[in-house]
Symmetry: D2
Subunit: 306 residues, 4 copies
């Protein structure tokens, strides 16, 4: 379905003529290493010498441990290094500075798998934004431990795989899921209110590439039933958190959080309803930041070049 | 489609068993009149004498002009006045106090018409919330001056009527639209980014029953192209406003507003994207407040018992 | 010092002529009891029969345990019960409904003691708002375990008492403090970043009358060093919480919370600086709500009629 | 008065031992010019070659008109150019790129004049933050058209100059004020609820160096009596705006804005009270951003490297 979208090229009064935003081929380098003098000069010079026009550069130095973080995006038109030689060209520089790094071209769409259970609002939100063109990604597969949300996936024509999970078959199911993800060449997993805990073995296959939404303002109310806990504690604000999944439940690096005010008038059902809107927004923002290579993990924390 | 929804009766860890929220028959009285001593006593006594258990009562006195506003909801179980005699029973009291008033029973679902043009996000949001059970309403008809959003209405099985509008046929079209609304017994109109200005004659048919979303923080950037204006002015925050439609463009009583922070990094397209999320939320909240009889109009302003 | 304050009677363009807001004598009843039919009718009728004009009425029923909460303010001009007979008149009614209740007249200013340690921003904020006329209260005494903030108290001419505290003398000091508070007829204690933990014995003397500010978004980061913990966890939002003090550290009923967004660019010192603004606002709001009799405690939670 | 301040070197539990934050000599370059390839490389290389370690670098390209903006801070320890030769060294580079630019060393404290009328809250806030060490600045003079706030200035030991203003003497007074500012070597003027309109001639002497607080969410409610206008319009959110002063009233480039939610329960006096908190925060943030050289003006807009 081709839904019109308002853009800067649109007359807002009666919008609809979609403007193709042809931004051409560009690359993004994410880089972190121990801080040293002249790092920005070195990297920007490196790009300039090869004809790269910097579109966006953001850097950060964490003074507490002298770590250096950089995100730089440049125009590939006129860049003297062809796309398939990019990695080889940057590798020696990265080695010299002991850097962790990735480069991604904007024409290589990320392939997402969405994991869900029975609640559809986060799935719905992601599919809707994908349709609107907000995410530079493809979704080849939706995975669930229940069949309930198959109708939503069918609306959008995305294959829906049900893996019923019991205590006994969990290892086996995870192996099958990993096999499916490999077959579908999945790059990133989004847990859109998926109510199973992934094993460390599973997580290890997608380090810093599993984005989860937790329906509380972490670290408050980690674990099960956060809305109930928030209701019983009588907090005046509830929140939601999107974060990378690590071995420790609800302890992964936080990408994004947001909150909404509540009062004594709000029942537990009201918290759930208000929280639903938060979850949708906070997960969508977290996924978008990840897809645009704006997140660098730094121990338990993230650097987000928003 | 029956999408599971998390409720207080749900085990959040693997939600889905929907709990029927059987709250029984109840009534809501909205009342405004000049302030007088003993008004709350009078009305609450009136209900008590007839066996009504008050579920919720909220009152407000505007000291600037001594106006009194009240919203009271009560349980109809055990109430001695039958539903079809409610209006007749309250009328004499209301007359005594020169009150404007309405009573609505919670089993009388409001019938909404949604008006749209080419942008689908607000329509999508409303249909999605309706499906989730957030709105106590029915949507018998969607009206548009373009055909673009027909596919969304088809997803939800709602009749979609296209009325192409030109300067010449506007009067005629409005007459046909009013006829359609009458036929469908429509109670309230939601303008979900409908890009035509309704004539005073049209508006007069639905006083305080047309809810619009304006994509700015009114009164800033009224009229056309608010995002472009906000971008050019260099504001650091943008907003959205839901309000009742009156004869004067973007001047109707405001129901709800919200904002989002922006920065110099945001292009006009970013404003449009961020604003889209705001519009969805602010319109949905405005519609919900209206549907739950929580809004009383007071001149150019509203009293919102949220 | 008489600092001009902008009011509705002020020409904002060159403000300063202070308008005495003579609102006359009024009373506030705070009431909670098991829910029963006709409670609002009963109480509003009770006031009406005695000539009381209701200025403001707010009620709430907690459906989870059928508790009823009410705050009603009325004009004492023309009320047939004299101020000194109020309690005796309401007592029988309260007994009938097994209610917890208080009545306060707006001419009986509450007497506050402020407890501080070495950080002055919360103290400064409270004294400044008192001076501006925002709090209906008197502050006869400031108590500290350090002498650092004496200069601030001297600016405002308020007696400052230093009680150095060690593990050994704590019981003795608390006894002396209680004696001082009794002598000064103190009604409510505000802990404005007071870094000592009060003993249960001390707290028992001021049940629901000790307001504390905790510099985190409780229940996250309870206990010591919340900013450091927030910094190390990498949260994207920090908060502050004002709450009543109970026997359990940082577990008392929450009155008010607020948050501020942070990013990787914020050092621990930035968190402390941004948090300082939050603490000031959240404590001030909590104190104001308490002073205006807008807070009812309900187990671990509060009902706040804001 | 030396008020203890919590810092990262403080034990939060009983804070007070002030940690001298000796960050050494550093410089900040603010730079804007037409965009060209290699600008970041050029400038960072320029600093690196002279031994400058970059502490912080932020850049932005406005695609709508291809303007380039940069803020870079570097450590002067080990930098081969002495402080007094900085301008001469950068000038040729700036000329080559047709750049507007400034360099400031962190040991050159800005000298602020505060202009006030009769309302003291913004003045109070600025002096209090200065005392806490939040602003790298000196305040040699406070200017007012009324004597009311002299006591506040005396508390802080700052000279207070009263210039009564009438229609007739305005030109003469402004000339005297400018003479005073010149004598005191004032760099930046803060209008802390100063209720006089400065003439274009006056403003021309401090281009992009007069920071004003306007008590509304601009462009809504520009001009006089914004709270009254907001109250009468029935908005659900009010705001405050700090901006540079230009020839056109309330039209200068916006530095910072924030908002607070209101409801029908809020009287005009409540708006004024709630707005007061906003004004304090928004002005303080605007002043801080200006003092830290984080604001670049771009036509009617600002680039804020926050």
């Amino acid at each position: 379905m081709n839904i019109p979208r308002e853009t800067s090229g649109t007359n807002e009064n009666d919008a609809g003529k979609r403007v193709p935003a042809d931004r051409g081929l560009s690359a993004v380098l994410l880089w972190s290493c121990p801080d040293r003098k002249g790092l920005v000069a070195k990297i920007s010079q490196f790009l300039f010498e090869r004809g790269g026009n910097i579109i966006d550069l953001d850097e950060h130095v964490d003074r507490s441990d002298n770590s250096f973080f950089l995100r730089v995006a440049w125009d590939m038109r006129g860049f003297s290094v062809p796309p398939d030689k990019l990695d080889d060209t940057v590798a020696p520089l990265a080695k010299e500075y002991a850097a962790r790094w990735t480069i991604r071209l904007n024409d290589r769409k990320r392939r997402l798998a969405i994991f869900v259970s029975r609640l559809g609002h986060c799935l719905q939100e992601i599919l809707w934004r994908l349709e609107l063109g907000e995410f530079e990604a493809e979704i080849p597969v939706i995975v669930s431990n229940h069949a309930d949300l198959r109708p939503i996936s069918e609306r959008y024509g995305i294959p829906f795989h049900v893996f019923p999970i019991t205590k006994e078959n969990k290892d086996q199911v995870e192996a099958e899921q990993l096999e499916l993800l490999r077959r579908e060449n999945v790059d990133t997993i989004v847990l859109a209110r998926y109510m199973q805990i992934l094993s460390p073995r599973f997580v290890r296959n997608y380090p810093e590439r599993i984005v989860n939404i937790h329906h509380s303002f972490l670290p408050a109310f980690a674990g099960a039933n956060p809305y109930r806990k928030a209701f019983e504690r009588g907090v005046k604000i509830i929140g939601a958190t999107s974060h990378y999944v690590t071995d420790v439940l609800d302890e992964g690096p936080i990408i994004e959080q947001d909150i909404v005010r509540i009062s004594h008038r709000d029942s537990l059902d009201d918290l759930i309803r208000k929280g639903r809107d938060l979850e949708r927004l906070v997960l969508a923002r977290g996924v978008r930041l990840h897809l645009e290579d704006r997140v660098l993990v730094h121990g338990r924390k993230t650097v987000v070049f928003g």
